[in-house]
Symmetry: C3
């Protein structure tokens, strides 16, 4: 039975990148939809779950993509809300590459800290101590309230790290922290970035005099980030 | 040579259900088009019939779908009108699943009445006595002037049954009867449904006191349906 | 690794003809996009070039089609402008079939003049003396300033023929001649067609008393075409 991946993309033209990657991941048939709106999801999911019976349904999966992450998240929720009982398929959200980018980054960090094991047959490398690989480490996600930063923070926390997330607006950092707590049970410390320059102090930017080594201040204003070295 | 099915769907997003079913029916490549309007059909059919020569053309077929049956019927007519001489391909209409649903229902009825034979190699079960399987039976299609009801009535009549079709408007029932006579040579008796409640008395509804056993009145107003038992 | 062809079509519904021909040419997966505008090209090309690394990229190619040749030409330019260094894929333009039609015609002419060799394994027939097959011949492309005529003129000139191209407006013929000179280094003589009737004197039309044998006048008004026989 053919392995079918249904691509639901909120952009008018469904991502070519995602289509090629899916075929290279050994999917037999990628069925692509562009310009998918939230109200289209239910019928499409019905098409996915009502065509193959029982065990065969495991050969069908849904991929949600597009450049707009919040829309993708709503589509994911609508997709899962259409399933019932055993009538469900695997579903993956990767709008704007947010999940694959985050997962790749954290996997790289685990490799660099020596806590990724060798590749197993049929899979890539897996963590040696899942959930403990970054125990005792501190991690800071700069300007981390966007889709990728938020996911990186959550994944790092799930690997045992003590994680801080910064934003120029304390309110946004706090809101992301609460969401990660609620959705993943992850403890992430919200921090306000004191920098007020024109450019956002992003990763790789030069806003921090000490490069990326900024101090996570635990004194002074709670949760505020000094532009000092962070070791 | 690859078996190609061209899916022409009048809905903006071509039916996922139809695409998966086609791949599971061993089509090699399903080429899907959504948002197909009547005026698009000619060029698309040209693309289907002018690419492969002679015998090879039998590996190409056209499937017409979408939620709107009348539009699908016009597209079917436009498709057939584009063919000429031997330059033609197989074409199937199943807008809104009307034909497959009807055929499955009548096949089930034939099975229940013991007139379906065993499956043959390469096909499903076939009727033992084609055109005679329901001879001497009476069948009533309630609220049957929609796409599925109309097709069910026609198929039942073609299997030899004496068929009635009901509508709350006698005029609609008559018009469907005439169309079935004209297109299939099927004799179907139009009947007016006397029920005037808010909800349409559909199959499975509770509008009929005796459940689905309603009497097909041959007395009183010609062609009117009493809400009495029908044995 | 699957051979992937990305179809970028400026028409709303991507050409079915092109899709089937691609599958019959042994492409494994044709990824089709309809309604592609110039501003969509960059992102789509990124999707094509950033998914497969190094040598593997040779299994990806781009096909540009649609009924509008000038738009296709702009899309081709935008596609090539997105490539950099070795990060590029094969790309073919065949909007409105202009290139395949022209190439097929000139190949046929080479066959008829006996200068096409036999087919080689894995290819079609190839010219015996590339660039010299029509040396010493004169060719006239009537009403040849459209996409196909222009390409035929260029190909004939590249095979060594002395080529004239006609238009009812000398200015258009000249402009095409200049473009062929600039893009292909081909010398093509622009000619004004003196015919002023309602219908364009196209190939196969009856505007020329001597059928297709018109005289390429080298006397009188320079570059003007007499409706006399052309041997």
């Amino acid at each position: 039975m053919k392995k079918v991946l249904v691509q639901l993309d909120s952009d008018r033209l469904p991502s070519l990148f995602d289509r090629i990657v899916a075929y290279d991941a050994d999917i037999d048939v990628v069925l692509s939809y562009g310009g998918v709106a939230l109200e289209d999801v239910r019928d499409l999911v019905h098409g996915a779950i009502f065509t193959r019976g029982g065990e065969n349904l495991k050969n069908t999966a849904i991929f949600i993509g597009g450049s707009d992450v919040p829309t993708g998240e709503k589509m994911l929720k609508a997709t899962q809300g259409t399933f019932f009982g055993p009538v469900r398929v695997s579903v993956m959200l990767d709008s704007n590459g947010c999940n694959t980018t985050s997962a790749a980054l954290v996997t790289k960090i685990l490799s660099l800290t020596g806590t990724m094991g060798p590749a197993l047959p049929g899979t890539g490398p897996v963590p040696v101590h899942p959930g403990l690989g970054l125990l005792g480490k501190r991690a800071l996600v700069l300007a981390g309230t966007g889709p990728v930063g938020m996911r990186v923070a959550g994944l790092l926390a799930q690997e045992g790290a003590q994680v801080g997330i910064t934003s120029r607006k304390m309110e946004r950092a706090r809101s992301v922290g609460e969401r990660l707590k609620e959705e993943l049970g992850a403890e992430v410390t919200p921090l306000r970035d004191r920098h007020r320059g024109g450019a956002a102090p992003g990763p790789g930017g030069s806003a921090y005099p000490g490069g990326h080594r900024c101090r996570w201040s635990s004194t002074g204003e709670t949760g505020a980030l000094d532009r000092q070295s962070y070791h």
